[in-house]
Symmetry: C2
Subunit: 427 residues, 2 copies
């Protein structure tokens, strides 16, 4: 008997292998399901979670009463909680996915070549998507809806803390698929809470085409370092607002307050404010009042501090930080160049905004800032799928390859070239 042989691991390995294989086989069918069937299923799923609300709430109570749930922070418990309002919102979200156009087999471009060869480039599904996430149970529904609508099979692995809720949601998803005549195997749930299962699945590049980890930076880094399967990364954002000397200060205040306070825990909230030196004496006292009234802690550079009533001295790491909280780093800059290089250096290439009345400044900012969304005279909070008019999203990518910014149905697809000739050969 080999020293490395461990019957428990070996059994888990076999289970994961089978699950991934079921997903791979189902993915061939997933790409061929008609749009009408997929939309019928989505609407049925929305109906089902509404009609089964009591069972979902019951499972969610179990999760919240687990012994381990006592150790969760208040914020995590809050994210784990699924109530009637959230279930109704989730149902609404699923119906929105049904209403979006089906990306599968959309013609992206096409041409007839001079030799008569006809070329079309069409969208096709990726195959199998492995979706790893934490806490929020609505992600189970969102991920299944988006992956299946885009013609993919999906392997879902939620957090241990939400296991009961996710199990019930998973059953409802699979039952509703079945009653619409779609193989329920297109949605696979990793039932075991053994963390090893994730490591095993991450080593199956033959079965899995894309991994999407949705959670803290630690989870994403760990996944990226473990797997050779492509990973769609959406790190949190260190987003900036740069108030240019030409800014309308009233507009700048409105945007800064909105970008920081409207929902501080999300990735497109502002984390860092840059202010041109010329307007610092006017703007900083004004924003000081507006932000401290709203409970925001300010961490400012030395120059900025002279215009603020109460602030901490910011250090290097504050400018690189993603607080996801009512905390803001502030820096007074001496030039446009300094603002640009600060953002490209400390930012996370997610969303950065300028407030300005000068066309030239707006144009230069949009040209030189290397971020997924570069915003002029609007809040950073607009970088999400719905606000950009792209529909429901599964995250906001900070990658440059494949997908950047909001990832919706199109970003869950690849493409292929269809070529039709009449006996064409190459000379």
């Amino acid at each position: 008997m080999s020293a490395a042989f461990d019957p428990a691991t070996s059994k888990l390995h076999e289970e994961c292998q089978q699950l991934a294989q079921r997903a791979k086989s189902a993915s061939w069918q997933a790409g061929l399901i008609s749009s009408a069937s997929k939309d019928r299923w989505l609407n049925l799923l929305a109906d089902t979670i509404l009609s089964k609300t009591p069972a979902i709430l019951e499972a969610n109570r179990k999760d919240l009463q687990q012994e381990s749930a006592q150790y969760l922070t208040a914020a995590l418990r809050e994210r784990l909680r699924f109530d009637e309002k959230r279930i109704a919102e989730a149902a609404q979200g699923i119906r929105q996915v049904a209403a979006l156009p089906d990306p599968v087999r959309q013609i992206i471009s096409g041409q007839t070549r001079p030799n008569g060869l006809q070329i079309r480039k069409i969208r096709v599904p990726l195959g199998v998507i492995f979706f790893l996430y934490e806490s929020r149970p609505n992600v189970t529904l969102d991920a299944a809806a988006l992956c299946v609508k885009s013609g993919n099979a999906v392997i879902l692995r939620g957090g241990k803390e939400a296991q009961h809720t996710n199990r019930v949601l998973g059953e409802l998803i699979r039952e509703s698929l079945k009653s619409c005549g779609i193989s329920e195997e297109v949605v696979q749930l990793v039932q075991t809470t053994d963390r090893q299962a994730v490591d095993i699945l991450l080593k199956m590049p033959e079965q899995i085409d894309l991994v999407i980890p949705r959670g803290g930076e630690g989870l994403i880094r760990k996944v990226t370092e473990t797997t050779r399967i492509p990973v769609l990364k959406h790190f949190l954002g260190n987003c900036h607002v740069y108030v240019h000397e030409s800014a309308d200060l009233e507009m700048a205040e409105r945007i800064v307050v909105n970008a920081k306070c409207q929902r501080p825990s999300v990735c497109n909230a502002m984390e860092s404010l840059l202010v041109d030196r010329a307007i610092a004496p006017d703007f900083l006292p004004r924003i000081d009042k507006a932000l401290t009234e709203r409970g925001v802690e300010l961490r400012a550079c030395e120059v900025s501090q002279t215009y603020l009533k109460k602030s901490l001295l910011a250090n290097e790491s504050d400018f690189a930080a993603e607080f996801c909280d009512l905390i803001l780093s502030i820096k007074t800059v001496c030039s446009f160049d300094e603002a640009i290089s600060h953002i490209n250096r400390y930012g996370s290439h997610h969303t950065d905004a300028i407030v300005t009345s000068e066309l030239k400044a707006a144009q230069r900012f949009q040209r030189e800032i290397d971020s997924a969304a570069v915003v002029v005279n609007a809040s950073t909070r607009f970088n999400d799928g719905f606000e950009l008019g792209l529909g429901a999203e599964i995250g906001i990518s900070t990658d440059k390859l494949h997908a950047r910014g909001p990832c919706g149905l199109e970003e869950l697809t690849s493409y292929k070239y269809l070529v039709i000739g009449e006996g064409h050969v190459r000379e």
Copy 2:
């Protein structure tokens, strides 16, 4: 002194770090160079390699006379050879890149939202591309032309066997950049032939945005396993032609001969032929003659063998093989299903073709075959950038993420969202 400290490695590490950093810094400028400047440079580069032909030929002779060159196969020596004709072709290729539209800042899509927010999605460069390649010196020119035209900085690392030729070409590239007022740092050449330099560069995800290995399968696998930087893979192709029972046999013969024989060493040449059982008795003897006349070795399944004069019995690995040579595997199939599942199982998802006169068969084949190019009634050889009307390419991707099929200028870019408001905030 630490046990791990090795002054030679440490020096090499520092050199690589500096080189990658120069590329990263240059990449900021590369994205801002005007289309006119880039095209002026490309045309100057084409002129320069023509006027400096004697120096290039001299360097190439040195490569061919290196002691190590004696151990190269005839095919590799042939690929290494750069003569007047090939230099003229390379110059022509560079001018073609100049003539292509600049992808940088192209508007991919845009809309005005109901709230008045203006959204544009525009193409932007990726940043720094690390290009690793073997033998053929013209790749040095192609890669520099495509990467700079698409607004990227590029790190070039050619094979040791072509070091003298590549050095001269690299100097001409950098000199011509300089005389067009473009920083020559946008094109970096790894001068050392130490293989460790590659491993060191592959561990610099902060400086390098994309790795493109162009060479044998071994090189590509090694790179994929070593690095966490995204890799654009273009494995060789195991391409199929499936002759459907409804096929015009004269057309089928023309396509099969072209796909196999017109240039057997390339990735879009056919490696495997599938024939419907109903037409095997007619088609196989016919193709037997046409292919053996052209020196093709046939490796066939048992059923196929009964219709062929001289063939070897194909085994499992022959059906999975990419011969890149005048060898063909042949299988007689009993049904459309068998053809589809054989191709999706043994193929490399590169290019597969059907010859048929039935619309339904053509449609089903294009729907169910999961390959970068799915061809009806034409040779597999049409899957390349020029033939598909996409312009010059740096390879044909067998990946599904980011880019699939021919990779040209567009595939060397990412995108960003530009958002313009008038003080918009989110409710």
